[in-house]
């Protein structure tokens, strides 16, 4: 819609305060990086980059100078005379970027630009995109399903669900204080526990009675009244595992459970801990893994602990969000 290939049912699109809803694609100062790059196969790299300026009727000297500048920016000088079929995926990506940026658009629209690349190249291109963004200073609108890409590249993220924006904010805002359970589940891993607010405590805290859990203290920045049902979101990396019950503290929560699964992931270990009917994921960083005492084992009884400020409450989450938390099956064939 921003590029102009589809028309919105309602509302309007404004760039720099100017309504562009009715403009055809070729009259918008928006350029697009297509998922498949859509480079013109019959033109060389240089001719591809020069397409926009040529159509716009720039003088030849200016086209040549700008194309040379773009080739330098994207490190493509050596490929300038090749056809798109003769260059690699990452190079095609850079041609697509140069071809769009040369027109100096108000907004550069990137439609899942890295989806066609393999993991290593994707990580590399992500950094290159960021560097180019820093150099040209044009607004990038980056569409992606990959939350990692979104987090690492963005100044502001808009999380969308079925065409509606759920939340707009910086990566940290989106991650640390998601407004809806969809956002919490979509960005990063999280555990959801249903519960009811039972008591408002002093200093913006409240007591919570999730089913199967003992009473829990949670930061209540949304001022949710007593008696309301909520979902408690517990990020796995904010939880700690203890062998014995830790020292009681007003703002520290501790819940007893039993380890059901241990997945060693190198940078950290993921534990699935059974607490009543819930399976809670916990990430444990191991700094001195080999020097440590014996590692935690399967079927060991443990305590999960977290600070009241490290969890957040959301309005009760809906069925459709369940899939997003990507629970692993508890039995073979479950859910398939």
């Amino acid at each position: 819609m921003l590029a102009g290939f589809e028309t919105p049912d309602t509302g309007c699109i404004r760039v720099d305060g100017q309504d562009i809803t009715a403009l055809p694609p070729n009259q918008r100062k928006v350029n697009t990086i297509f998922q498949s790059y859509a480079l013109f196969p019959h033109l060389t790299v240089r001719e591809n980059i020069a397409f926009g300026p040529r159509v716009a009727g720039w003088p030849k000297a200016r086209i040549d100078a700008e194309v040379a500048r773009m080739l330098a920016l994207t490190q493509l000088e050596d490929q300038a005379r090749k056809k798109p079929a003769q260059i690699s995926g990452g190079q095609k990506q850079r041609v697509a970027i140069a071809r769009a940026l040369i027109n100096k658009p108000d907004v550069l629209l990137l439609d899942e630009p890295l989806a066609a690349l393999d993991l290593k190249l994707r990580q590399r291109m992500l950094i290159e995109l960021d560097l180019i963004h820093d150099q040209v200073g044009i607004t990038f609108l980056y569409v992606t399903h990959d939350q990692g890409e979104a987090m690492s590249l963005s100044d502001r993220i808009a999380v969308m669900k079925q065409g509606r924006i759920e939340q707009v904010g910086s990566p940290a805002e989106i991650y640390e204080s998601p407004r809806t359970s969809f956002v919490a589940a979509f960005i990063g891993d999280t555990n959801f526990v249903e519960g009811r607010v039972t008591e408002i405590l002093e200093g913006d805290y409240c007591r919570l009675e999730p089913d199967g859990f003992p009473g829990i203290v949670c930061f209540n920045d949304k001022q949710i009244a007593a008696g309301r049902s909520v979902s408690l979101s517990l990020r796995p990396e904010k939880l700690r595992i203890w062998r014995e019950r830790p020292q009681a503290d007003r703002l520290h929560n501790a819940v007893a459970g039993r380890i059901e699964d241990v997945i060693y992931l190198g940078t950290h270990t993921k534990y699935w801990v059974r607490v009543a009917q819930h399976r809670i994921a916990v990430f444990e960083q191991h700094n001195r893994f080999l020097l440590d005492e014996t590692p935690l084992r399967w079927e060991q009884d443990v305590w999960i602990c977290w600070h009241a400020d490290d969890a957040f409450m959301l309005e009760a989450y809906s069925e459709s969000d369940e899939t997003l938390t990507d629970r692993p099956p508890e039995r073979v064939g479950e859910g398939s």
């Binding site: 102009g4 070729n26 297509f34 859509a38 013109f40 397409f51 926009g52 159509v55 005379r81 027109n103």
Partner: protein, 289 residues
């Protein structure tokens, strides 16, 4: 790998054999007959002579050759102009609609070619309903002759060859990545400019095929000008037929045929050679860079 190659050769052998025996050899015989004297019974005499070759230098052929070339070129041009949007539209249609549209392109082949030309004769006939309708609509004057003119030949040739142009252009358009048009529009090109600068180069192979499958048969047209052309719409094919059936002079007809074949083949070979050379120099330029 080697066995696969051999299998390929064995599989293509029958078609090559067929072409050799029923296409290449007869063509060479036609070339050879051009150097033979004619005999009074309509056959070929003994010995060799250039009499037939001298015979085709007759100035009457110049006008007919000129008409043959411009009618064929115009037919080809009109076919390409009509077939390109058609191929584009079919390729962009929904799969179900696409199958139906393709069927519509092929349907005329279910009726004999000759019957379809006779149908045009009826339509264009001075007393025909089509002619009357045109007069009623004020599109042509009462006295206009539609049949037996070069225009009639052009009309029926375009009608006949259009499907042969639509099919290769559709085949090329169907493989075309239409997102490239979106990309061109995104980069500021208008619809027409995107079509001309991105779509047409994208289907250039289809266009070349369409050009060849229309232009070459059009040059050799015989039935169409014979039935709807009249004396003013004759083409070289009619002259060749007259030399065979009326004059019973096979060498003369052979010389004309050979001339037509060379007139088509030589420019074509030149174009292909030029393209190959340009491709080679393009590649070497690539290595030099």
């Amino acid at each position: 790998m080697k066995a696969g190659r051999r299998g390929e050769w064995l599989l293509t052998l029958p078609s090559f054999g067929w072409l050799l025996v029923f296409f290449l050899v007869p063509t060479l015989i036609v070339f050879a007959f051009a150097f033979k004297p004619s005999d009074p019974f309509g056959g070929v005499g003994a010995g060799w002579t250039t009499q037939a070759l001298v015979g085709i230098a007759d100035p009457q052929y110049a006008a007919i050759l000129w008409r043959t070339v411009w009618l064929s070129l115009l037919t080809t041009a009109l076919c390409l102009v009509l077939a390109t949007p058609a191929g584009y539209a079919i390729a962009r249609a929904e799969p179900r609609a696409r199958a139906r549209l393709l069927l519509l392109v092929i349907v005329p082949f279910w009726t004999s070619f000759l019957i379809r030309i006779f149908a045009w004769k009826v339509l264009l006939h001075p007393e025909g309903t089509f002619k009357h309708a045109l007069v009623e609509l004020g599109l042509v004057p009462e006295q206009a002759t539609l049949l037996y003119t070069p225009g009639a030949v052009l009309l029926v040739m375009v009608y006949t060859f259009l499907p042969f142009a639509v099919l290769p252009i559709y085949a090329a358009a169907e493989k075309f990545d239409f997102q490239l048009l979106e990309a061109a529009r995104d980069l500021g090109a208008g619809r027409l400019r995107a079509f001309v600068e991105v779509f047409l180069p994208g289907i250039r192979r289809g266009l070349l095929t369409a050009f060849l499958v229309v232009f070459i048969p059009a040059l050799g047209s015989y039935v169409i000008p014979d039935l709807v052309g009249g004396p003013g719409g004759e083409m070289l094919g009619n002259k060749i037929a007259q030399r065979v059936f009326v004059d019973r002079n096979l060498p003369h007809a052979s010389a004309l045929s050979a001339f037509l074949i060379l007139a088509v083949l030589l420019p074509l070979a030149a174009v292909l050679a030029l393209q190959a050379q340009r491709r080679r120099s393009g590649v070497s330029g690539e290595e030099g860079a």
